[in-house]
Symmetry: C2
Subunit: 209 residues, 2 copies
Amino acid sequence: MISNAIIRRLPRYRRYLGQLQRQGVQKISSNELSALIGFTASQIRQDFNTFDNFGQQGYGYSVDYLYSEINKILGLDREYKTVLVGVGNMGQAITNYNYYYKVGFNIIGLFDSNPKLIGNTINDVVIKDVSELEDFVKENGIDVGIICVGRNNAQEVADMLVNAGVSGIWNFAPIDLEVPDTVALESVHLSDSLHTLAFKIKTNEESKK
Amino acid sequence: MISNAIIRRLPRYRRYLGQLQRQGVQKISSNELSALIGFTASQIRQDFNTFDNFGQQGYGYSVDYLYSEINKILGLDREYKTVLVGVGNMGQAITNYNYYYKVGFNIIGLFDSNPKLIGNTINDVVIKDVSELEDFVKENGIDVGIICVGRNNAQEVADMLVNAGVSGIWNFAPIDLEVPDTVALESVHLSDSLHTLAFKIKTNEESKK
């Protein structure tokens, strides 16, 4: 059983290992990784020891091997068929982000309720009316739905995605959605992040006084 | 001294209190808030007791008062003069997000290095050449810089913002920036969120086997 704390660290390990790969680095020690990532070397060794066969630490870890093992653990060694609902500014940004960065979540359906958007295409995907969402998800065996609609429609869209059988939802609406335990949910709350920034600024300013 | 754990909960309290305000709710008990937010009632009472004068809990908390106090604690009772660097898809989405949601971070300068974008306007703000960034930040007393450039240019832009004197950076580039302790930094790592989603899906699927 892998603890939640480790899971939260894995994407970060993956990000740095990807960077090392692009730089052509093949072996890395826990001390070197520590200097890069900021976790302690003993934390890193402890994390990697949780998994099997993470390379002999005395000689350094294999960057390629670590990267591909972390991908497997995270479930990133496969593609996720994905739809996105709400093709406003944020929806378009996320659509292009997924397309250009090839993140393994291929958006093959785009949905909106705005007649001005329906029929347009982004990266060769046609924007459809949201009334077609459930049938599309069922017929195409969609794994993941991305929600970029506003606060007032987000739960309704989530219900449609859940009813149609998605395994996961990536939510950008500023509300906490209710979904069954069997559906994975991950939310990006931009306002929470911005408010944390405001608080940090305020704290810094007060410590200067 | 307010603990980090509480600080992470405050934006969430704020979000729900804002929702209650829009619904016209004036008083709320810790039990009602608990049912809405998902924190335990005793956690909520404990959090609010950390601050002064959060309303007599026996008669319920005043929604307006809680909301405005949390705003003050978070440093959201003021405006932050903001610039955004990197007006690609994500940059445009964030520009419009800040504009439409009036989040208190007014973007008064947009910067990019792409000649096709320079000179265009978004919400009446002209996109300038990034070479003008530092002077603009100094001359206008900019508080916050939002970084929406790619991985390879993000640290350079952060250095420019820091040199020019910003108090905070909101970073969307997929790297961990290095900034002095005196500059507040908050990053939105979309890929980390997506990888966490993949892992949750995988865990759910394995538990079904």
